[in-house]
Symmetry: C2
Subunit: 455 residues, 2 copies
């Protein structure tokens, strides 16, 4: 089965390459249509930049737009930025407004301006409107197309539009019909039940109920809370004077939430939104920027070992256990970090619960420290036949486990209290401290028992 897939897969790849080379539009389109959009994106991300640009230029703008809609944000930008302005503009016109805005915000200013100028005026204006807002706010997340009526319109008007409405109602499912006054301000909302219950001649202002709306600068967090506490599928967005700007759908919101959650989880590895289709030097530079700051932390931790070179020379066997003690403690500490990060995310823990968390983790640290200390002390004893070596290593690991678990549990709360993102900073901070303390404990306890160790 795997072999078969592999064969079919490389055949698609070759056929696609061939068709692109001779610029056989029909053939390229046929191949892309015959595979799933995810598979097509995978092929795109395997290509070099110029091949990719060629492929996209050959595709019909609608087909290219369909692929771009499905692509992760960074790939979507890469798929547009290398194209000729006129081609890019044609594809952009086929994208949804919020995708257009996302891409424009990521493009270089000049090429964004060039593409916008080449687009039809109305679309370009919509994009410009949306790009005013921060991406993670109601303004940045909203759709501009809303299902709205005047307060002086009748029930019949709405029902007729529901019946005729090409895709209007299908697209706006989740939005109730929003009611505006003559100045474009949101004044209410009508329910389907309200519409079906009333005569067609009734004016909307007589059956509407007040609408809950959010300001354009409402944050993603506030929106999440709002949707969590209410069952609605969409919420209207208004400006300061109450004018209707657009609507945020539950769907758009959960997508934004998942992207953010994913980026947070990745930020622990400091790779952010890297994709392998990015240029190699950019990828190296992005990864190095964090690695080189990590060197400093490593030097600080290792300097502890340097201070004890004499002890280490005397009992060289300890060198074997130094990385074991620091690594095991690092793992124990990271477990506690994981629990705290989750409880912070769920709202079950807040920075003021520091002592409660410390108490709880301290208990786990003592139990696990004793167990792990006995295990690794036993290994050291058995290996060198030196009970004192076992005692030194076991004791150091036990103590360092208590330290690591206590720090691991509390450091995310402390960082959050001081406004630092705990997902990014907890890991490196914890590792440095547990390395330092671990090295110190092993080597200083060994110094204390030096006579016994050497006897």
């Amino acid at each position: 089965m795997a072999d078969l897939n592999e064969k079919v897969d490389s055949e698609i790849e070759d056929a696609l390459q061939d068709a692109i080379e001779v610029a056989d539009e029909r053939q390229v389109a046929e191949i892309v249509e015959s595979i799933s959009s995810q598979e097509a994106l995978r092929q795109v991300s395997l290509m070099k930049a110029d091949e990719r640009d060629q492929l996209i230029s050959i595709l019909a703008p609608e087909a290219a737009a369909e692929l771009i809609e499905e692509a992760p944000a960074e790939l979507a930008v890469a798929m547009i930025e290398g194209l000729e302005t006129s081609v890019a503009a044609k594809i952009m016109e086929e994208l949804q407004t919020d995708t257009q805005a996302d891409i424009v915000q990521e493009l270089e200013k000049e090429s964004a301006e060039a593409i916008l100028s080449a687009m039809d005026r109305e679309s370009a204006e919509d994009v410009r409107k949306l790009t005013q807002y921060q991406p993670d706010t109601a303004g940045g997340l909203m759709e501009l197309e809303v299902f709205s009526f005047l307060d002086s319109d009748s029930v019949g008007t709405v029902l007729t539009r529901l019946v005729e409405g090409d895709e209007a109602f299908e697209r706006h499912r989740g939005q109730h019909p929003y009611i505006l006054d003559q100045y474009g301000r949101l004044v209410g909302v009508v329910s389907l039940r309200g519409l079906l219950r009333s005569k067609r001649s009734v004016r909307l202002e007589d059956i509407m109920s007040p609408a809950l709306a959010v300001q354009a600068d409402t944050s993603l967090d506030e929106l999440v809370t709002l949707f969590d506490e209410n069952p609605f599928l969409g919420v209207p967005v208004v400006d300061k004077r109450g004018g209707l700007l657009g609507a945020v759908s539950r769907r758009e919101l959960t997508e934004a939430e998942m992207v953010r959650a994913e980026l947070q989880s990745l930020s622990r590895q400091q790779v952010g939104d890297e994709l392998r289709s990015m240029p190699i030097l950019l990828r190296s530079r992005r990864r190095l920027s964090w690695l080189s700051s990590n060197i400093v932390l490593n030097i600080i931790a290792a300097s502890v070992i340097a201070a004890y070179e004499e002890t280490l020379s005397a009992v060289i066997a300890i060198a074997v256990f130094l990385p074991m003690v620091s690594d095991m403690s690092g793992c124990s500490g990271n477990q506690a970090v994981g629990v705290s990060m989750r409880e912070l995310a769920l709202g079950l823990t807040r920075p003021i619960d520091l002592f409660h968390v410390l108490k709880k983790e301290f208990g786990v640290g003592i139990i696990n420290g004793i167990v792990l200390g006995i295990l690794i002390g036993g290994v050291a004893w058995a290996w060198k036949g030196n009970g004192w070596l076992g005692l030194v290593i076991g004791l150091a690991l036990a103590l360092n486990t208590v330290v690591a678990v206590s720090i691991g549990g509390t450091v995310p709360l402390l960082l959050k209290r001081f406004g630092i993102d705990p997902a990014v900073a907890s890991g490196p901070l914890l590792t440095t401290v547990t390395d330092m303390v671990g090295f110190f404990l092993v080597l200083s306890i060994a110094s204390l028992f030096m006579t016994q160790l050497l006897s």
Copy 2:
């Protein structure tokens, strides 16, 4: 601001404790109602098990159920399992069917049976129906309440139910009205537009269109793909003979998806769904089960150092750099793991792309290896004034970075190919290999240059 919160917070805590002690139902209810449900859950998770049970028993069943609906799965189970059977049953009756099923599946078999027997027969039967299905399938995710009609019903029947329906339509937003034949089999679906366009006397079977439905054993992954590719807000679930069982809503689906994504990210730290409100011994045991297997990996890696004790004794300064080289390489490798995990999740990479990934990562590894090698080699040189020491350490780190990045990028693909969850196994596997190779490189290169190092 922080101080103010802290004060108010501890006041709430004290007031709540006092009210629980004297079992002042009214006071307890008032306090819980005055704070947000998230804050109430935080208080609950700060309490000891018996305090928690007391609090929940004092609350009205509806209020307790509201809190439990909002709680993460493990806390929800803990909030039920300590209660008296009759109290638990009353609260369970107030929960949504899918929450009931989730809790019942987590409870000990005997107490689940006891609670189900104490519930009213209809609710208990619904729960029993749902618990037949695996949690991450359409059957486990569906709601039993559907908005359904007979094919012989008229348009008027549906419109009347839309108008009268207390909450019916509001609750079933996202579901179209599903049409069944006389045997309960799903035969079609009608759109709102279709209903509004037709006379009230028209039979539903004349305006219905075919319904897309899924089997109860459809997996979460398949559902995610289905909802990604289609705009609908809900999909009906049928049994083998086509009988309508329930419907999965987009909302329920994204919730399940987020819980799964969160658990996957946590599984890297091997803490799963631990909460600090769990008993301490359980928490210790869960964390130890992974830590103790990690000891074995650590011993394997450290045994490389043991093999080179002679080299190490001769140039003790190397001991300072051993943990630095292994830690830096571990970080570089984890960055590559992060990118691969993300590309796997996005579908941009598949196990058969192994060589493509290897080639790409190899390039990044060489660039970053050279940069990091020069940096840390320079540090070693400056610190001991020994250029050969700098060369040994720098060369070892450069080579180990290439190894770590290449392995880090490919190991998630290999694990996935062999059906092992890469989120769980990639980290420990990578760390062990990069530690071993790192120790080996530093110590064997040092052995090669021993004369120069000691000169």
